[in-house]
Subunit: 311 residues, 2 copies
Amino acid sequence: MKQGIAIGLDIGGTNCAFGLVDEQGRIIARDNLPTASCAQAEELVKALSTKIKALAKEAGSPAIQGIGVGAPNGNYYSGCIEFAPNLHWEGIIPIAEYFKKHLSCEASLTNDANAAAYGEMLFGAAKGMKDFLFITLGTGLGSGIVANGEMIYGHDGMAGEIGHTILFPDGRPCGCGRKGCLETYCSASGLVRTYREKAGSAFRAEMDAEYIFEKAKAGDALALESFSFTGEWLGFALANSVAYTSPEAIFLFGGLARAEEYIFAPTRQSFEKNLMKIYKHKIKILPSGLKPGDAAILGAASLIWKKSMQN
Amino acid sequence: MKQGIAIGLDIGGTNCAFGLVDEQGRIIARDNLPTASCAQAEELVKALSTKIKALAKEAGSPAIQGIGVGAPNGNYYSGCIEFAPNLHWEGIIPIAEYFKKHLSCEASLTNDANAAAYGEMLFGAAKGMKDFLFITLGTGLGSGIVANGEMIYGHDGMAGEIGHTILFPDGRPCGCGRKGCLETYCSASGLVRTYREKAGSAFRAEMDAEYIFEKAKAGDALALESFSFTGEWLGFALANSVAYTSPEAIFLFGGLARAEEYIFAPTRQSFEKNLMKIYKHKIKILPSGLKPGDAAILGAASLIWKKSMQN
């Protein structure tokens, strides 16, 4: 058991949220900085490092074990953010290297879904599990795959893109340039696309996932059908996923997962229906055990605490 | 480095093939026994143990490090064959336990595709790779998934059933009781089903995968179309698989893989076409580096040598 704290930092398109996290997964202090506050990535890392040092000083200067960073298109092996479409930097950005330089501590980086999966394993509902899937249902569908107690990064650091398996050949256009990807159907924005298809000319721009959730709660047929459709195909896709890694549980996290039974019920029903016999009735689909506001920071900090536990 | 040999045993529906394998992956002696020669599984294990001891004696009584067994529906965690449809024993058979008793050595069991994947990693074309897929294209489509240098067994020992991901909902009936599984399209028998659909009333029972291969080599349009169709959907499915574990390479093994470019060319073409951009042009689809007659024995023996290397 080591003393001190790990820094958890989540770099998002709009905001960078960070916190000091102890080994029990408590966030003892937190702060944030707008991602656009610096034009250059290294400048942002410098500014973040200054704020992190100040936050640590306020908290009584605990020993910093390292900084874990979750970011879109974060590559664990290289420590770089690679061609992230939602960030304003281009190309390959060596974030971990910048933090080693400006914060003078160990720095580790991975993509945001992998980081949250780590958080679930160390501090959430996946504690003690060696094989599970972690699915984030937001604008897209992100995933972290844990097998044999380890995150699967793949040979190039880019594994775990279940949202970009093709569900329907020649299906809905996807931001990745292909068609029919799972995330174009099963995500908050996929739900909206489904609702839009059903609503036709009655659809208006303000009808977002939150709106559809409210309508579903009020018993609106189109909204309920949209949730059913989304859950039906999510359950189907997750049943296929099971044939890869046979996880003990699948955790659903993110905006769409907060619709609770409106998404969990149809997903579970379709999942069991589509599972191969050897897998039936033994794999749980569960909500994440992390608080939405804490998950990204805890997950990022887990990159450091995970390493510390292995040493 | 340990001295001695490992026993590799492949239990098939018809035949049990076994051999003495040294740490360099050389089969120094081999023999076999028909699977149906004993009615009870424990009797068969006894008979096999007697033959194995005799074979080892003939070979100069090298130290036996253990026996590795590859078998359909073999569960690595339990050491049992579980409900194998193509074997004449029912229920759960504790094969590893029987061998520990009758051969008085370490015994390890896994399913045949996982065993062959281990063989590829230790002695074949996957040497030194930490992330790869191994696909057997025979009567069905079997798979072994290696990530972070470890076989993925899943929480229950039943991971790696890519052949039973559903390619087409409501597609061809599968032996697993569901419809549209990948192996009903992409396997030797899937090729035959495709050819049968195309040939219609001209189809005859003797038109097996071998026949279709010969016809394809002779330039027959239906046979060539059947290979194209099979490769097209195999490439599509493998492109989806990459999004899970981002392997360095995918190895194709088994009867259908021996059709070489008739299956590799359309598979690779469709694979690249369907890959997400971040994966394009960096993942190889390769033939297995193991001889067809050796793979099952080498793979099974690898279960023992793998453990020995880790100790």
